[in-house]
Structure formats: structure tokens, C-alpha cells
């Protein structure tokens, strides 16, 4: 049995020790069957859970789908009339997500550009840390704050003010109740803002220094470098950030249920209390008795929501893949790790 000489500088380097250990262990025990079993077992469990998830949700919702047919996609929700459509909730989901994106994307990108390119270091460094920690605030806490602080604020000040704005006021008719599609959108915007800022900042700081220097050498101002060099260079990362944020806004259930007003009628105004797929699931799931058509209808809402979020994610992946010869797209997880991981 031989031993490996220590590294030249005398330092112990864990993987090299490991190589030495492999020598010592060489053919000490028979067969690698256990390791293969572990790998295959892990993969089988993972695939099994995934398949079970799809199967169970489809199975539980099958009677509602059979009852409603394709009309489930646009009909309303009315258990008294045995009508379990996802249409109104889907509209609510899309509206709240749209409001959230309209608010959070411009503000988030402006903030990220400022932090990555324009701000002096003494401003950028603490603000970056702050924003990244805010990305870790649980959504239930944002929902709680929205319910207790923002609801009265919106009912008394923000919504009456918006109704008086010319032209735009048309979007905001009806009584200012506080809890509304609009408020849910704002709460979602606050929830996804740190995600957008943190991820697009990482994408922007990934643009090569040489590209920036090329811009500077052409006498571009700082802003021109940011606008013409950094933003186009970071486009894929920014798209990934927005896709991930949109996915979260679509799927958030609890925080939205606390502020959206939970009304099953079609929302004709942004000030109207409404419901999203997520909030409707939260509210109707416990009400419905097991084994009834209503329960199956709620699970059908889950399937529709899952379908929408998979479509959005797949759409995002395709968008990211659009350019030829570009490196493979980073999935949502890599993006999450990029923000919170030590590398950033």
C-alpha cells in the first residue's frame, strides 16, 4: 500500500487527501451495487413524486373537468348553481400579475441600473445588501403588512385620489374599499421587487468590463454605457428575472387572499374586490367537503393555475433560448442561487 506525498507547499487539500484515501480503499470491499442503488433510488423517488403530483391533481379534478368540459376556462364560480369555472379567477390572476409587473418592472430595473452602474459605491454597497435581504422576507409577512397597513391607506387616500386622475380614472371606478385587485397587485409588486432588483443587478454586473471600457473609450457618458452596453448585455438575465418574478406573482396565494377582497364576481374595475386562482383555492378548499364536485372544482383551479405557471415558465425559457449560439439558459434555481448564494 503506497502513500501519496503531501502537496509541495505542505498544505493539506481536502480532495487530494480524498485521492489518497481512494488508494487505501482500493478494492477493499466488493462491488459498487449499493452506490448504483442509491442513485437509481433517488432518481426513481424524485420521478415518482413528480408523476404522483400530476396524477393526483388530475385524478382529483377529473369529475369537475368532466362536468364543466372546456367551458371551465371561461365560466364563473358559483357552487349554488353547480358551476365551477376558473374564468373569473384566471382574469383576476392575470390582472393582479399585470398590475404588479407594471409597477415593479420599471422601478426594479431603474433601481438595479442605479445600483449596478450609476450610484457611487457608498450608496450602492449598503443598498444592495439591504435589497437582497428584503428578498428573504416571507410572503406572509408582506401580506400581513398589506392587510393591516395598506388596506386602510388605500381605502382612505390612494383609491379616492386615483379616481380623480383624468383619463386613467376610467380604470378606477366603483367605491374605494381598500381590498381590491389594485391593492393585491401593489402587494405583489412589493413582494417581487427585491427579486427583480437583485437578479437584474447580478445580470448587469456580469457584463464584461472590457465592453464597458469600449463604451467609455468612445466617449460615452456613464448613462450611455448603462443604456447601450450594459442593459443589452444583461438582457437575458433581466428576462429571466422578470419571468421568475412573474411566476411568483401568478402563484402567490396567501398574501393575495389577505388583500384582494375575495369576491367571485367579474372585476369590472381595478378597485373592485376580486379573487385570483390562488386566493380562491385558499378560500374554497376548506369550505368544500371531501368527495364533492366542489372539492374537485377547487382542485381543477389548482390544475389551471399550474398550467398557467408552467406555460409562463416555458415561455420564458423559449424567450431565453431565442438567440442562436447563446449559452444555455439558466433555470429559476440558478437565478435564486445567484442572488442569495455566496458568489454574488
Amino acid at each position: 500500500m503506497s502513500t501519496i506525498a503531501p502537496a509541495a507547499n505542505g498544505a493539506s487539500w481536502a480532495p487530494v487527501d480524498g485521492v489518497a484515501a481512494t488508494l487505501a480503499d482500493r478494492r477493499a470491499r466488493p462491488g459498487g451495487r449499493l452506490y448504483a442503488a442509491v442513485r437509481w433510488g433517488g432518481a426513481a423517488l424524485f420521478a415518482g413524486v413528480f408523476a404522483l403530483l400530476i396524477f393526483v391533481l388530475l385524478h382529483e379534478s377529473s369529475s369537475a373537468f368532466a362536468h364543466m368540459g372546456i367551458t371551465i376556462l371561461w365560466r364563473g364560480w358559483n357552487p349554488a348553481k353547480n358551476q365551477y369555472g376558473a374564468g373569473v379567477f384566471a382574469v383576476g390572476t392575470l390582472l393582479t400579475t399585470l398590475v404588479a409587473l407594471v409597477i415593479a418592472v420599471p422601478i426594479g430595473l431603474g433601481t438595479a441600473t442605479f445600483l449596478a452602474e450609476l450610484a457611487p459605491r457608498w450608496v450602492a454597497a449598503p443598498c444592495t445588501v439591504l435589497v437582497e435581504f428584503l428578498a428573504a422576507v416571507p410572503s406572509i409577512v408582506v401580506g400581513l403588512w398589506g392587510l393591516i397597513v395598506l388596506t386602510p391607506l388605500f381605502a382612505r387616500h390612494v383609491e379616492p385620489f386615483l379616481k380623480d386622475v383624468p383619463v386613467l380614472g376610467a380604470l378606477f371606478h366603483g367605491p374605494p374599499l381598500g381590498a381590491s385587485i389594485l391593492l393585491a397587485g401593489v402587494v405583489l409588486a412589493i413582494m417581487i421587487l427585491p427579486t427583480i432588483v437583485a437578479l437584474s443587478r447580478v445580470a448587469m454586473s456580469g457584463v464584461a468590463l472590457a465592453d464597458r471600457e469600449a463604451g467609455m473609450a468612445l466617449a460615452a457618458t456613464r448613462w450611455q454605457v448603462a443604456r447601450r452596453v450594459v442593459l443589452p448585455g444583461a438582457r437575458r438575465g433581466i428576462r429571466a428575472a422578470v419571468t421568475l418574478a412573474m411566476g411568483r406573482a401568478l402563484g402567490e396565494a396567501i398574501a393575495v387572499a389577505m388583500v384582494v377582497g375575495n369576491n367571485t364576481a367579474f372585476p369590472h374595475s381595478l378597485l373592485a374586490p376580486g379573487a385570483t386562482l390562488g386566493s380562491a383555492i385558499v378560500n374554497s378548499f376548506s369550505e368544500a367537503n371531501p368527495g364533492t364536485l366542489e372539492k374537485s372544482g377547487v382542485v381543477a383551479l389548482v390544475v389551471v393555475l399550474l398550467g398557467i405557471s408552467v406555460l409562463v415558465n416555458a415561455g420564458g425559457q423559449i424567450l431565453l433560448r431565442a438567440r442562436k449560439g447563446a449559452p444555455p439558459p439558466r433555470g429559476p434555481v440558478e437565478e435564486i442561487l445567484a442572488v442569495t448564494g455566496p458568489a454574488s
Binding site: 420521478a47 391533481l57 450610484a119 409577512v141 396565494a253 383555492i281
Partner: protein, 307 residues
């Protein structure tokens, strides 16, 4: 402003050059002035965006701290909930519940995530691509969907229990862990694999002694971050653990958890309930932030040790 139509005929070449230089300089200066003004306006707009995004976020955290701190006491952290209006309210059972549920979820998800990641790393192919795709779909899946899934598989069969909540959180964390583990293992240089294999050792030995050892910082960070995400989730727990007013250590019984405590208390009109909600929100927030700071610190420490 200079006359832009400069007649060149009859002027000596040196003067033409000077005239051109002047023209160019004037033009450049005029345009530079405009470019600077545009840049200043845009920079101010971006600075304004920073202010706009920081205001609600700081207001949120400040509000949680200011409403949560008065609720905090040692009693609050160890007692169980009391009926409305009776002092001595606490969330001890919810803290224990969260810790037990998350610990069991980790015990379920970490080994499966690691084993699956090894499969994906060792056997690139259709099955691995499908597993990765599944992980991406699951990561993007709304957590409420996972809650309903856990209800339909676990709760219908065995009733409400902490274990059902752990299962839901494990399903939530699994795809994140798989991708994080895979990413960490992919950074191990091929040379190290080959060095190990060239010595004639079995793959299991190479993986255990070489690959896992150098991927450990990434694996630990990724798993801790997945845990930090899961600990604040309400949606997977709301249909699974049912909630409880008492200390429950048996995972097969209904349990309490902090996010659920916030949710149920926030939607009640009593002042005491809202105090509890804010206090719990503060404890939960501190726990999550500590976990993400801890994940970075552990990663930094392990990285230093490995070098």
C-alpha cells in the same frame, strides 16, 4: 453658433483643417452637453426608482419590528396560545412545530436530492434531462398546488399531521436542492474524477471522498437556502398540519407552525390576535434572515477550509 456651410474654395489647407476642427469641437461640445443633460436626467430617474423601491420595503420591515418588538418576551416564545383577552399568550408551540416540521422535511428531501443529483451528474441522457425539466417545472409551481397535492395524498389517507406538512415542504424544497447539488457537483473538475478513477477505486469511493468533499460548500449553501425558503411558506402547510393550541412533539399529530399562526391571527379582528401576528412575523423574519446569513457564512467558511 458657427455657420455650418463653410466655403472651402480659395482657402489654404491649414485654415480648412482649423475650420473643420472648430466645427467638430463645437458639434461635440453641443452634443456632449446634451448627452450629459440626458444622462443626468436618467440618473436622477434611476435614483428616484431606488428611493421608491426602498420606501415600502423599509417601511415594511420597520413596521414589523415596531409592532413586533412590544409583543416579544420570554413568555411569548415559550407559552402556548391563550383564549382572547387572557394574558400570557405565546407561540412556543408554533416555534417547536416549525422546527420539527422543517427538520423532518430536510431529512426527507436532502438525501433524495443528493442521490438524484448524483444520478443526473453521472448519467447524462434523456432521463436526466427529464429529471431536470421536472425540477424546473416543480420550482416554478405555485406552493399552494403542492399544499393541495400533499392534502390529496397524505391527509386523505392519514389525517392532518405535521408529517403531511413536512412532506409538502420536502416536495417544495426537493427541486431547488436537486439543482443546487447538481450545480455544486458540476464545479468539481473532471481531473479530480479521473484522478480518483485512475487509481482504480470504485465510483462510490471517488464520489464520497473526492467529489462530495469538494462540492460540500455549494451543497450546504444550496440546501440551507432551500430551507430558508421553505420555513417561511404558508401555503403548503395550510391544508396539511391543521394547527394546534398545544405543544405537539409527535409528528403524526396536528401541529402548529409560525406562518400558519400569522395567517390565522392576522385575519381576526382582536387587538391581541394582531399583536401575536406581528410578534410571530418578527420572529419568523429574524429566523429566515439568520438562516440566509448563516448559509453564506457556512459556505465562506467551508470554502476557506477546502483551499
Amino acid at each position: 453658433m458657427t455657420d455650418t456651410t463653410l466655403s472651402l474654395e480659395g482657402t489654404p489647407p491649414a485654415t480648412v483643417a482649423a475650420g473643420h476642427r472648430e466645427l467638430v469641437r463645437d458639434g461635440v461640445q453641443r452634443r456632449l452637453g446634451r448627452r450629459r443633460r440626458v444622462g443626468n436626467v436618467a440618473t436622477s430617474l434611476c435614483a428616484a426608482a431606488l428611493c421608491v423601491s426602498l420606501v415600502p420595503l423599509i417601511a415594511l420591515v420597520a413596521y414589523v419590528v415596531s409592532r413586533g418588538l412590544p409583543a416579544l418576551s420570554v413568555g411569548f416564545l415559550v407559552h402556548t396560545p391563550t383564549p382572547e383577552g387572557i394574558p400570557g399568550n405565546g407561540i412556543g408551540n408554533a416555534i417547536v412545530g416549525t422546527l420539527v416540521i422543517v427538520a423532518i422535511a430536510m431529512a426527507m428531501a436532502v438525501p433524495v436530492g443528493l442521490a438524484t443529483a448524483l444520478f443526473v451528474v453521472e448519467r447524462p441522457g434523456t432521463l436526466s434531462t427529464a429529471l431536470r425539466f421536472g425540477a424546473d417545472v416543480l420550482t416554478g409551481a405555485p406552493s399552494i398546488a403542492i399544499g393541495v397535492f400533499a392534502y390529496a395524498t397524505f391527509v386523505i389517507a392519514f389525517g392532518y399531521s405535521g408529517l403531511a406538512g413536512s412532506f409538502a415542504l420536502a416536495v417544495l424544497m426537493l427541486p431547488i436542492m436537486l439543482r443546487a447539488d447538481e450545480e455544486a457537483m458540476a464545479t468539481v473538475p473532471d481531473d479530480l474524477w479521473e484522478a480518483g478513477l485512475a487509481l482504480g477505486s470504485r465510483r462510490a469511493r471517488v464520489v464520497r471522498s473526492v467529489v462530495l468533499r469538494s462540492a460540500v460548500p455549494g451543497i450546504v449553501t444550496g440546501n440551507l437556502l432551500a430551507m430558508a425558503r421553505a420555513i417561511g411558506e404558508t401555503a403548503p402547510l395550510i391544508f396539511t398540519i391543521f394547527g394546534s393550541q398545544f405543544y405537539a412533539f409527535r409528528p403524526t399529530s396536528p401541529m402548529a407552525a409560525m406562518p400558519l399562526t400569522i395567517y390565522t391571527n392576522a385575519t381576526q379582528p382582536y387587538a391581541d390576535a394582531q399583536r401575536t401576528a406581528w410578534g410571530t412575523a418578527l420572529v419568523l423574519m429574524v429566523l429566515v434572515v439568520m438562516l440566509s446569513v448563516g448559509a453564506r457564512a457556512v459556505a465562506a467558511h467551508l470554502n476557506r477550509k477546502a483551499r
